[in-house]
């Protein structure tokens, strides 16, 4: 295809303020995510990352600027149609009733089903494909409560994939996972981007993993964009120390910047 494609997600000069708040939760934030692109949003607690996700998914309408999904304002999509295009793995959820892995992944087919119609063969095939893509096929008949944290995240990712989305939105997917499972999850997401052409918007606290795996970063502080672009341009020592108010040293591995927090000494005045 030669015609320029519309970006899957485009935020343009977005400003948002919660009612009653004295300052903007997001101020003049822009980003664009195309297919085959892994975009990570970083920032300290309270920097507006979650608000950004809500705006991007149309749950909040920007006061100024636009938030478009494939060229249409996110808030104008019907929830069902949006769910066919965007798959979300929220930070947490709790399952009211005991459920097996295959059942919960099948819920990802909801946006493709009709009101009274039963699940079709293609729905079950999509579930199988999603489970395989997330290396979770062997978990299909397990109960959710028997899964480890890493397995559970893979299953939730599989549910989002069963929606057959073009864009994946992941909110802190690697939080509370150990090293191996963190790396596996990032490798998995990177593989989906490279092999299936998905666009990814990931919210994360982990600067180093984001720098290693993402194509571009957006660093937020108090709702304002501090830096955006390629990891090497965003994660400089000066920027990181300013935004996170902590001394760091920077190294490079695989051509990507890696941050090492330093012990805070008396003589360092930031």
């Amino acid at each position: 295809m030669t015609a320029p494609l519309l970006p899957l997600l485009r935020l343009n000069g977005v400003r948002y303020r919660y009612s009653g708040a004295t300052q903007d939760a997001l101020h003049d934030v822009s980003l664009a995510i195309a297919p085959h692109q892994f975009h990570a949003v970083l920032g300290p607690n309270g920097s507006g990352k979650t608000t950004l996700v809500r705006v991007a998914l149309g749950a909040l309408v920007p006061l100024v600027g636009r938030a478009d999904v494939i060229g249409v304002p996110a808030s104008q999509w019907s929830r069902q149609e949006l769910a066919r295009v965007v798959g979300v793995v929220p930070q947490r959820e709790d399952n009211l009733f005991p459920q097996r892995v295959r059942e919960t992944v099948l819920l990802g087919r909801y946006p493709h089903l009709t009101l009274w119609g039963a699940e079709r063969a293609e729905d079950h095939e999509a579930v199988d494909r999603a489970l395989r893509a997330c290396d979770a096929a062997q978990l299909a008949d397990r109960w959710l409560w028997t899964l480890s944290g890493g397995e559970y995240q893979r299953v939730r990712l599989a549910r989002a994939l069963a929606q057959q989305p073009q864009l994946l939105v992941l909110d802190e997917p690697a939080m509370s996972l150990d090293l191996k499972h963190q790396m596996e999850l990032f490798e998995l997401v990177r593989g989906l981007v490279d092999q299936q052409g998905l666009g990814v918007l990931m919210i994360t606290h982990d600067l180093n993993l984001a720098a290693r795996f993402a194509d571009s970063l957006l660093l937020l502080a108090e709702g304002r964009p501090v830096a955006s672009g390629a990891p090497a341009d965003v994660l400089t020592q000066e920027t990181v120390e300013t935004v996170f108010s902590w001394p760091v040293a920077m190294q490079t591995i695989d051509g990507r910047p890696q941050m090492i927090p330093l012990r805070k000494r008396e003589e360092l005045h930031l």
Partner: protein, 313 residues
Amino acid sequence: MRWTLLVVLVLLALLASVALGPAAVPLGELLHSDIVWNLRVPRALLAFLVGGSLGVAGAGLQALVRNPLADPFLLGLSGGAGLGAVLAIALHAPGPWALPLAAFVGALAALGLVYRLGLIGGAALDPRILLLGGVAIGAFAAAVTTAIVSLADAAELRNAFLWLWGGLSGASWDTVLVVALYAPIPLIVLFAASRPLDLLALGEESAGYLGADVEQVKRRVYLAASLLTAAAVAVSGVIGFVGLVVPHIARLTWGHRHRVLLPAAFLGGGALLAFADVLARTVVAPRELPVGVVTALIGVPVFTMLLRRWTIP
């Protein structure tokens, strides 16, 4: 197999309701007996419809308020209906429909108040406030009801008390017809919400991301389940435990997918109430126990066993 067993139970319950009663009707004369055609058949059908409605309403509300121990009467409807019914009894409202109508209006008033309370935080219906508001409104209505009953004379008091515990002695072909025409509408609304209810079990945020219109689903389910319960309470009083225990048995047997769970809860609720009504009118014949007493006597032990299973996943 599970469905076959359930259908057999339904048929057995209906058969027992028709064959058994305080008046001995020989089996050979069942089809020609006025007692059977004018009393037992409509009563069996009404028990089945009311029990089924309570089962479905309970299952839907449990998913809505995200509390597996919710009951259709937890949301204040029984209190409102009880107040309406007791007012009708105390004021000697005439005619066969005065009492059910008063109970229905009372239930609707409670429904409206609780619904309004549920919207107190803004445009989004908050299930936690529905639950708390329901308990509060129900307690208030019960207090007013008790005040009225304590001022009533003995015969009225007995009538009011019996009504509050539920009973199907008011069944007639007319009530069956009214319920049979009314109940399918909220039932269809609830069945149509089956898949979004599955999603709602993950929480409202996740349900929305998976494509459910969460606010619309919550409103529809609350209103449909409440309207179903209001009709049930209007024709048969407050029959507890059917809406609590039946959805649980159905969940343990069929799992949590509402497309399967809701029909199972309907058939199971219908069968349970029909059986309970047979017991209510035969064990102390020629007198009659309120059927709510029977469902509670059966329901509470079953429920305590279920609580044990619930804590061991």
